[in-house]
Amino acid sequence: MRILLMGNPNVGKSVVFNRLTGVDVICSNYPGTTVEFTKGSMRIKGKHTEVIDVPGTYTLEPTSKAEEVATKMIREGDIVINVVDATNLERSLNLTLQLLKRKVPMLVALNLWDETKHTGISIDVEKLEEILGVPCVPTCAITGEGIKQLVEEISEAKVSTYEYEESERWQEIGNIIAKVEKITYRHHTFLERLGDASVAPATGIPIALIILYATFKIIRFIGEGLVGYVFEPLFEKLWAPLMLKLSGLMGSQGWLHNILIGKLVDGEIDFVESLGLLTTGLFVPIAMVLPYVFAFYLVLSFLEDSGYLPRLAVLVDTLMHRVGLHGLAIIPMMLGLGCNVPAALSTRIMETRRERFISATLMAIAVPCMAQIAMIVGLVGKYGARGLATIFGTLFIVWVVLGVLFNRFLKGESPEIFVEIPPYRIPYLKGLLKKVWIRVKWFIKEAVPWVLVGVFIINVLYTFHIIEFIGKFTAPVITKVLGLPLEAVGALIIGFLRKDVAVGMLAPLGLTLKQLIIASVVLTMYFPCVATFTTMAKELGFVDMLKSAGIMVISAIIAGGLLNLIL
């Protein structure tokens, strides 16, 4: 048996899914968090049952790719659990009535039930059940209330006999609402007033700047703190002596020594420059990148769960129109700062193919992921803020210039923003920490092995002198146009695999600040890492991916070349 969880965006389907199956999925407070369906399973009366978390949709007449996914899924389910937002019954019923017509056994979960109480809404559940002809269960998925009853009612799911004229749907909904819902007047809460202030331009823009500033400060504080007080001491005091011993046992040389420990610098292990699997291979992802990834996701998850992102989308909408997008495209850009892979997936919330191409390409070219940012900060940061400002300033200019060009020359339309602004919610701490953990776990599982593979390949490349060989071919571009030493080609090769390792490879080359800036910018822009590349190819299709990649290579050479001339 297969159960589908369907409902409007941002009503908490993923939270219900997580409660039913125990499968961890990312849940946030903005419409369009889930853009792909997730499968899980549960046991109902001893029987194995598949549960699918379907992306949210307002209607079965889809308007975006994420909604299309949802509409196609409906044919494959045996039972539909329609999750509705009890505080927004009218809007939710629009989908409910369309689902009823599909004649699938169905039940309704009235989620966010706790919020109806302090928003002055009361719903007559029995009457609603009677009218719709399917079981209705009030739930509060985030705390787990009502989930048990929901599970019990699954076997009671029914095909409704409710009939209505398609053209009269809204009148029907109006009639139902009049019968089951009562709204009592209440005062505005603090969160609602904050909600109004954060979208009014006079207060919203200062608030956005404060949030941006606080975000940077918090990420730096947590990231630097973890690196300086936890991970570096751990590696220097505990791991380094151990590795030196191992190095001594292997006679401080030989190919196995080179691969595991790497080169010793003045008889000591240098965790950045040694380039061994057990030294640099572990130090880079765990001690240099992970603390920042953790800090970033902590802040991002808070912003997601609070409901701030759609408001930010409204504020930046005008800017986004200049680059052929609308405000919601801020979401892939923000996610991209964490990791470009989920960001590429999230471009599905954009309505047209043109917008998806522009947002994915701009994101992949100009938005470095946190792993790469952490390495750039570690490498260039010691020269002061000017170098970092040049790198990130250049990337922002590239983002704007390319976006304006895309907007001018790419055919197709970019529709306007049309987005639900959810109420502010105080993030549920347990849920938030779980989400951070899911993402950190994903990083450890997906990134760390690739870093090790990267470090291994570096050793192979050096051992067989492949880098010098490729270096000769690419010399005109690398040395003449970009002004980098030939060995930098090694970083560019590894950059296809993992950009953090690639930035790390620049460390032993003895580059000047100018060369470091150019190399960091080029490494960000020239091509996505392999994980991002495969995701983008799936999302955009092969031909558009080729176009996108062509644009990346060309713009990286131009931007790097210009920097080489100007700096």
Binding site: Y58, E90, R91, N94, T318, I417, E420, I421
Partner: protein
Amino acid sequence: MTKIISLVEMRVGETGKIVEIQGGHGMVRRLETLGVRTEKEVKKLSGQLMRGPILIQAGNTQVGIGFGMARRVLVEVDKNA
């Protein structure tokens, strides 16, 4: 006395009833999924500078609507308010 103006022309804080949506079937359908449809009472919450989106309250939902679309949603408001 009432008058008919677009969401763009409404003042922040003003309430009105939607009387017409000047758009094709696709746009009307898209708007109604979030409860923006004729006969509906809406309140304007804010507008952005430089032709940015308009924010309205429709029922219990807050919706951000792009400037071009908002211009084509006509509401009936009290003239003296």
